[in-house]
């Protein structure tokens, strides 16, 4: 975080060496780490090992599963379900871009222009979290119902003709189409975009804007050269917080989509709960994790932000 800028200047090599702190003091960080480490060990590391093991097992419910190092499961899973993987990346990517387009102006407004409305708008951004994810998604089914006013208006304005042509909807409806799934994802993850954007915009020193103005920069140039680069940590962490959970989401595709909008999360759920093919489900989860890790690493490298937020 920006607190890094307040770090003390490095000691010059000529400065007299400090007396080493007492031993007890040196252990304090480790004690502080302990609860977190234990938590991660029990609820992250162990399940990961268990899952990794499951992914290389073969067998069935009746005969039990044994570790046979059957790595072909990974290849089979990938070649069988790559369309769902691609779809997940596509939908999550579209939702992330939409979130950024919708969220940036709002975060900008809250940070610089909202004045005394700031707190109220912030509460409104967070308010959806007061009800359950599932209920909010189900509400979309009512809002976007075929005979409802939203779809009616979109039809009158011929918006649906355009989206149909783009392959995002089919016929005169929004529900059970890719558009509905992307909209659901965008809606559900929008606050995760706005909050980090806001926190990094809010920290920008207002005098920088004045300085840019004094140097005859037009507002658009000020934004392009000063504000946006300084908000990059917020953009990066916002896109990550949106993209990563959206890529693994299955609720939106399940409730708002149809058979041809299923994402990889749905496949994992089906494999695990219905078909009881635990190795394939575990392998799919690992492939998804690896794919996200690679994409995120490349993205962070490209965006040139080493410190997130």
């Amino acid at each position: 975080m920006a607190t890094l800028t307040e770090a003390p200047p490095p000691l010059s090599p000529t400065a007299p060496a400090k007396t080493p702190p007492r031993r007890r003091g040196r252990l304090v960080p480790y004690w502080l780490l302990l609860p977190g480490i234990l938590w991660l060990l029990v609820f992250f590391a162990l399940p990961m090992i268990y899952q990794a093991s499951t992914s290389v097992q073969t067998g069935s419910l009746e005969e039990g599963y044994e570790v046979t190092w059957h790595f072909a499961t990974y290849w089979d899973a990938l070649s069988e379900y790559y369309p769902q993987f691609l779809r997940s990346v596509l939908y999550a990517g579209s939702a992330t871009v939409l979130c950024l387009i919708l969220g940036y102006p709002l975060a900008y407004l809250i940070a610089f222009r909202a004045g005394r409305w700031r707190n109220l708008i912030m509460i409104l951004v967070i308010a959806p979290f007061f009800t359950s994810f599932l209920i909010r998604t189900l509400a979309w089914k009512t809002i976007l119902a075929d005979g409802g006013p939203v779809v009616g208006a979109l039809n009158t304005l011929h918006v649906l003709d355009v989206t149909s042509w783009l392959g995002m909807t089919s016929g005169d409806r929004v529900l059970a189409t890719p558009l509905a799934v992307v909209c659901g994802l965008t809606y559900n993850f929008l606050p995760f975009m706005i909050l980090p954007l806001y926190s990094s915009l809010e920290r920008i020193d207002g005098r920088l804007h004045e300085a840019a103005g004094d140097l005859y920069a037009k507002p658009i140039t000020t934004f392009r050269k000063v504000t946006f680069p300084l908000s990059m940590p917020g953009v990066v962490s916002g896109t990550l917080l949106t993209f990563i959970p959206a890529a693994g989401d299955y609720v939106n595709a399940d409730l708002l989509g149809s058979a041809d909008t299923r994402m990889v999360g749905n496949v994992i759920q089906t494999q695990f709960l219905r078909i009881l093919d635990y190795p394939t489900a575990a392998a799919l989860s690992f492939i998804l994790m690896a794919a996200i890790l690679v994409m995120v690493t490349v993205y962070i490298r490209k965006s040139g932000t080493e410190d997130l937020v």
Binding site: I49, L273, I275
Partner: protein
């Protein structure tokens, strides 16, 4: 002059390597070396751990099946059921039939509505049952295919007929001999479920639907029909429509049904496959027609005059939800007494009057007529001869078949 040695890096290269070890992010300090070796140890340990954690064979569950029966000492029984599957009084807090049972026998019922989905519930109780541990539940209610799987896996206890006189005497013929539990050695039905075609008159707008074929073929219903994610209901209804018998079908029949449905998915005829949430699609009119569970439709019909249902000439599917006593349950006798209680016509009638599913108990009609005349004459609750003749059950599947069929069905539904 320096001699060129192919095997040895030049001094410049060596210097560069030393630099790279000392500086930058890959700097090889003592700490990072320690970390690396710890990582290596973790990795080695991890590999060991990986091969150590297989999943034991489900059928060979460790330990005995029964636990000590504490029924005489502890006058309780814990009953896990689906949501909205029990009579409730006006305050919404009391279950009259359960309270009558407690009053008569002194056995307190810990009633929990924690089953929402067969697959999810199986995932929930599987770890305990596979490891031969108690689930903390004395009665669970599961749909027949899952009940059959639990019996096959040896995870439920055989019932003691001497505690079940009413159940034995009053169980209707239709439910007596399911092929997954002949003679009801392990299970008794809680309620029967009929799968029918439901429709929204307003959304149909004059289109006539009489069969699954109409749903699949009529172009005016494109994108406005729904099928269930419950494989046996969707496939069963389509099998019947294609003149096949769900009690006795082959792999080829199954593939033919999947191909027929796949065609409808591909051309956008089927809007989506749903679980219980089809009710909202149907009432909003997004579904003009869908495969539905009759118990829901009776309730939807009461709320909205547009909703109705029909039974295709080719027949309809009936399944059941069944009470089972899982391994290691601590109050087996109490559980059996509770099961038996619901086969007394009076209790069965009170329950049937409240939840509109198929009542599996004979001799209920008179009792039910005293409470609700309409319900007593509703063939969906007490099926008459004509209804029973059209009712079909999905044959039980071997675990291999189940996996193969579920996989094909999952592909059909998109994943």
């Amino acid at each position: 002059m320096e001699q060129f040695e192919p095997d040895r890096p030049s001094p410049a290269q060596l210097a560069a390597m030393r630099r790279s070890l000392r500086n930058g992010r890959a700097a090889m300090t003592r700490r990072s070396l320690l970390r690396a070796s710890a990582g290596g140890a973790l990795a080695v340990g991890g590999l060991g751990a990986l091969s150590a954690c297989g999943i034991p064979a489900a059928g060979k569950s460790q330990g005995g099946e029964a636990a000590d029966d504490l029924s005489a000492k502890e006058k309780t029984v814990s009953f896990s059921n689906w949501t909205e599957y029990m009579d409730v009084d006006d305050s919404g807090k009391h279950h009259p039939t359960l309270e009558a049972f407690t009053k008569r026998t002194g056995v307190k019922v810990k009633y929990t509505e924690d089953i929402n989905d067969n697959n999810e519930f199986f995932g929930k109780i599987k770890p305990q049952l596979a490891a031969g541990q108690a689930t903390g539940r004395d009665i669970i209610v599961l749909t027949d295919w899952l009940a059959g799987r639990l019996i096959r896996l040896g995870w439920v206890q055989k019932l003691d007929p001497s505690n079940l006189p009413h159940a034995f005497a009053n169980l209707s013929q239709q439910f007596r001999n399911p092929d997954w539990d002949p003679g009801r050695a392990y299970s008794y039905p809680w309620q029967g479920i009929s799968t029918v075609i439901a429709y929204n008159k307003k959304a149909l707008d004059g289109v006539e639907v009489k069969s699954v074929s109409d749903m699949l073929d009529n172009p005016r219903l494109k994108g406005r029909v729904g099928f269930l994610t419950e494989m046996r209901d969707t496939i069963g209804m389509t099998l019947l429509d294609m003149d096949k018998r769900p009690e006795k079908f082959t792999d080829d029949d199954y593939d033919a049904v999947v191909a027929r449905l796949q065609k409808a998915v591909d051309k956008g005829q089927i809007r989506r496959f749903t679980g219980n949430d089809y009710t909202s699609d149907l009432t909003s009119g997004d579904f003009a027609a869908c495969i539905a569970w009759a118990g829901d439709v009776v309730q939807l019909k009461a709320d909205s005059p547009d909703i109705d249902f029909l039974i295709p000439d080719s027949g309809y599917m009936t399944s059941s939800d069944n009470m089972l006593i899982p391994n290691k349950a601590r109050h087996k006798t109490n559980a059996e007494r509770l099961i038996d209680y619901y086969f007394e016509p009076r209790a069965a009638a009170e329950l049937a009057a409240y939840i509109n599913y198929v009542c599996p108990v004979d001799g209920v009609k008179e009792e039910l007529a005293k409470i609700d005349e309409d319900a007593a004459n509703n063939p969906l609750i007490l099926p008459d001869q004509a209804m029973q003749a059209k009712s079909h059950a999905f044959r039980s599947l071997s675990s291999k078949e189940e996996t193969a069929y579920e996989e094909k069905f999952a592909k059909l539904t998109g994943a």
